[in-house]
Amino acid sequence: MIVVGIDVGGKNLHIVVKKGGQILAKATGPTGIKKAEAAEQLYDEVLNKAGLTRKDVERVVATGSSAKRVAFASGAIPDAAADARGVTKLVPSARTVIDVGAEEGRAIKVSPEGKVLDFATNDKCAAGTGTFVEAMSRALEVSLDEMSEITFQSTQTLSTNAQCAVFGESEVVSLIHQKTPKPDIARAVMNAVAGRVASIARIVGLEKDVVVVGGMAKNAGFVDSLKKNIDMNLVVPEDPDYIGALGAAEAALTGAMTEQVDAKILGKEPSQRGKVNCF
């Protein structure tokens, strides 16, 4: 059976095409402003790569912040569920998942079977996300890859005050004016984000193996800062940004079209998500 998992994230789309246990093709591209269209386009692109047409696909499961924009999806699952499934498939020893994307950072406690036992997220604020690092990279006038590299060249630890991407940018600019070496600034930025992510992870408990996924997992500098902060070994699977899509594909394979995370987590009441969706 051929299935497709699609993760429509805040910044990037990821699609995975699976046939049973094998990945036939995968693709990624920017989500952009017109999310529905971007999804359609990338879908056709990846099917083309796999030499398939839409008719060949049995089921499509979507995940990600804009999962509902995927017109061709048969179902959708929450990000946490997708992460849990995707990670345990690749790393069976995983017990804690840390997913840091462009717009959200989350920590998930997973069971060996790939179920979400507990989770905590950092959302609607850029400070604990990839967006923060990206904004600082612009202020430093380096690419994200460069920023990751120079992190390792840092020779002194700086502490930063700003807890906001907007104020952080001003702070970086003034550090540059004070002639602070860029590697030290880069390290300070990575430490700041890692600190915030680690705090969220501690809420669910850090049980090994701790797996880091999402776009930021590709940033070696960030992963290094995170590792030093929680003082534990971190596992970063190959193509860590595809985990969400992979998990959605896994869900499609098992026929779990929609998955209720959270209904009864360890006998607790459903968690109420803050309704602070306003400016």
Partner: protein, 104 residues
């Protein structure tokens, strides 16, 4: 005087509230806080106030969301240590932690 220390951002309301009229400056909250965010000293806001009061340290105010999270203020099985030990019940937390990190 009600002092709300903390911040509000896209992810929620994160405030530690100290009622300085009720606070007797005993300092127990500062001692039990595992994150060491509380201090006791002269009232910064009411400069004519005579007694010392508890407050959240300046450098901790913008990070309070992460500092208080492990104590599960407002939704843990037990109240947060600072709340539990305060006799006049001068210290409370906003709902951010309960709403964002769920019932426990």
């Amino acid at each position: 005087m009600i002092a709300n220390y903390g911040f509000k951002d896209g992810s929620g309301d994160w405030y530690v509230t100290i009622d300085t009229d009720k606070c007797n400056g005993c300092g127990k909250c500062s001692e039990v806080c595992p994150a060491k965010v509380l201090g006791v000293g002269p009232d910064e806001i009411d400069i004519f106030g005579e007694k010392p009061v508890a407050f959240v340290k300046h450098e901790e105010r913008k990070k309070i969301k992460y500092s208080c999270a492990p104590c599960r203020p407002g939704y843990g099985v037990e109240p947060a240590p600072c709340v539990a030990i305060c006799e006049p019940q001068a210290i409370t937390h906003s709902e951010g932690w309960k709403l964002q990190f769920g019932f426990r």
